[in-house]
Symmetry: C3
Subunit: 354 residues, 3 copies
């Protein structure tokens, strides 16, 4: 299945963003993840729970039932499951055979995000989460905005392709990202480690513009801006990066004005659709509401531009991608490396868990 | 195809409800039955006719044509078929080759219902109809309400499953069926004959409530109420049953207040959708309009609740039912027996008629 | 695939109407032709260009890009193609490998129509266009109305079937075509040449009616009217023809009142949908605006009637056409010959071009 030559569309041994923390409470929430309905809620003590979303009795969605304490009761015949997925009550009879159970997904709540593990339970190590603190999530000294969630009618790999080649900023986002017109001509450097793939562009001595002056009122001159793409896995990508005052010295020596990271949470909904969570994290003027609002407004411009592109491509991929030879250029190197990492990860799984 | 392990989704050698009598007149009516368009109308003498709905010349739907006396004229090139389906006129030529014909479906009108036989014509015996009089349809001393028809986006077997396990009343219909909360805990008895499968629950000494007092103003005490499901075939199911005054004696000896049967007409539209005809029949206060209206109002609450459930399940069945092992409990026994009867009926047919 | 027993649904070595001349300018226009997106525009000098509509880099539709002089720039990463389809700029790098190219479709603009050749470029001979002048297109002494384009959800062969048997006029268009009720009983003559298939009906001494008198105010008597269907290929069909004063002599000797041709441009959008271009051409009162308006109004009645028929048939064809034996009569002879010509043309191609 394009762009990978594999039948399994995504890795299962993986943490994914299931929801923002604020979405999950005592109201049941269902979200389709890796083509399976998952129902989420919090226990009375506030701990998040994620269970397979269908009652195994007659496949009625548990989201249409109700919470009974920390357990969830199916709305059709009242079968009730505790937070581990074990059936604890069948109203029409006394006995509760142990075979009645729904799958429980391991969950970690961190940095305002509920992470869900879709693989074998034994593999659900917290150490496999991305290093959230390093990008400003869930750490002192940073402000984070959680942008509205979008469910995009395109395979998640098209979103990864999009983010791994930021030269598109000069075309798709030429109006929404001030100064973005320069990106296509910046040289890019790629570095890979086991934990991440980094594509780095540095725009040097970019002329000042109203957006820079709004962010950094004390600086009126040119800036050196990083346009990074850092992939931590198919689940999370960081773009953006630091902006320095451009003082004519080496970039490494120039004065840091601030860092703005765009964090892109990517959770496949199905083989051809994806939940897209965008967050912004910055380490300057962190209590400044106008900047938070400006970030949310900028996201509200940029995100629909990217979504329109990848949904438009998705509509052509099924018909054309299989028979044409895809043509690539040097700036696709990051995306192609990302595909290779993803393909290796999927191949290593062998097969999906039952 | 779930829930049967058969490729043929329904029996063809079967009477089905094609329409309520009042729906069919001198205006053409098309309804899809067992995945075939059927066109219905009445002759000038008032007799109902059901023909295959497509002109065999170029597959234009006959419903878009017009009646010419007792014959039906195709709206595309004017080919005209009599009430037996024989072509009687081809306007562009004099000759009418005998190969031009549309299939005629045997029809019986009984109890305000137009029954259509979808099998081989020789098998269309009136004796194969359910015993309508026994349930209060088309018989003196009973009042019948025909509720609006719903076409449900779910395979008809999910509707049969639903009706064969009335324990769902305590959950899905807890607000719409007064006193229904008790049903899930009633013991049930199952009896089978060649002609029907009966699942019987008796609620004894159910406390009085406003609905019972509305139906039976002369009785203020508790009642014994039957919550039957009686399956006559895939085409018709009766639920409900008698309500007795609860006098502390054996139920058999207590005073009958009245019988309300819910008749559920089930006509597959396609392998994954079904026409759902609901009627209520009662043998008390039969000229009482407020009761008729109350029955219709109750149906207008209950039916959408069931439809929402089975449509929700249908949307999961195609993806999940094939690979999971379905889990069942004692109260599913009726539905599982119904499936067995249905599977045996389909297997006995060997294959669908041409 | 019905109605042909061939897997390839259409011929590729063929001119098709891509657009009316007035539709194509300096705004990009995309139209799906033979299941491929085609983008059209004019150079600064006004010459029409038709290119494959997807950028070969990441399959983004070129229609979402912009014109840069005579070249078209992709909106995603700025790859730019000249009017021959050759890539002339990749903004992220200096080199432009020659493999980057989009297919160019040969184009001829004639009679207010942009014709597109979908076959191998070497075969794109202007001599393979229909003889447009003979039917009043692009020639002195004739007035032409271009009716609005409709994209019909039916395979194009159903439209050809429709037009090759005008006996349907007596039923589908009995209200919209004055005098059309007589057509079904007119004898028809068929003649074939290499270049066209002609089905001819002559209505003799048709009684006068308001429409004839509106067209030919100087003539109050009966008319002899031709109801031709002339197929020039799957791309263009002429219907209508001359109307003579009916003087009791041989039709050939009677006085010609005028000719009105209906030209039906047929361009498959996909295997199951078709772009339908209707034009009217007449050789009398050619500067008369009321007649032009009357023709457009008549088209606005007739065309939706035909579209409703063939879309209704399309919805049944997939399910039923494969298993039923189609029944035909004498008046289907023209349509059946048209199918044979089409099947021979497709078979002669062997296979579609890459």
């Amino acid at each position: 299945m394009y762009p990978l030559n594999l039948s399994q569309p995504y890795p299962f041994e993986q943490w994914w963003i299931g929801a923002y923390s604020g979405e999950v409470g005592r109201e049941l929430l269902q979200r389709r993840i890796l083509d399976q309905p998952v129902v989420m809620y919090r226990t009375q003590a506030g701990e998040p729970v994620a269970l397979a979303g269908l009652c195994p009795h007659r496949l009625y969605p548990l989201v249409k039932g109700r919470l009974d304490g920390d357990a969830i009761q199916c709305g059709y015949h009242g079968f009730t499951y505790d937070r581990t997925g074990r059936c604890v009550r069948i109203p029409s009879q006394d006995a509760v055979p142990s075979k009645f159970a729904v799958r429980r997904f391991p969950v970690i709540e961190r940095a305002g995000i509920i992470w869900i593990w879709t693989g074998r339970e034994a593999g659900a190590e917290a150490s496999l989460l991305p290093d959230l603190e390093s990008m400003g999530l869930g750490v002192e000294g940073w402000a984070v905005e959680q942008h509205p969630i979008a469910t995009v009618k395109a395979r998640y790999q098209l979103l990864i392709d999009n983010l791994l080649d930021l030269s598109h900023i000069s075309f798709i986002h030429s109006a929404s990202i001030p100064g973005g017109g320069a990106v296509v001509q910046l040289p890019c450097e790629i570095s890979e480690t086991t934990r991440s793939l980094l594509v780095q562009r540095v725009g040097k001595a970019l002329p000042s513009n109203p957006h820079y002056r709004f962010l950094f009122p004390s600086h009126e001159g040119a800036v050196d801006q990083r346009f990074d793409t850092e992939l931590f896995g198919p689940n999370l990508i960081r773009t953006g990066g630091p902006i320095h005052a451009s003082d004519g010295k080496h970039p490494g020596e120039s004065r840091l004005l601030g860092v703005t990271n765009f964090l892109h949470g990517i959770t496949p909904e199905s083989p051809t659709s994806v939940h897209y969570f965008v967050m912004t994290a910055r380490n300057f003027r962190i209590d400044d509401a106008p900047i938070a609002n400006a970030n949310l407004r900028m996201g509200a411009m940029i995100q629909p531009e990217d979504i329109a592109v990848i949904e438009s491509i998705e509509s052509n991929v099924e018909q054309f991608a299989g028979t044409r030879r895809e043509l690539s250029v040097a700036t696709d190197d990051g995306a192609i490396r990302a595909r290779r990492r993803l393909a290796a990860q999927i191949r290593a799984e062998g097969s999906a868990p039952a």
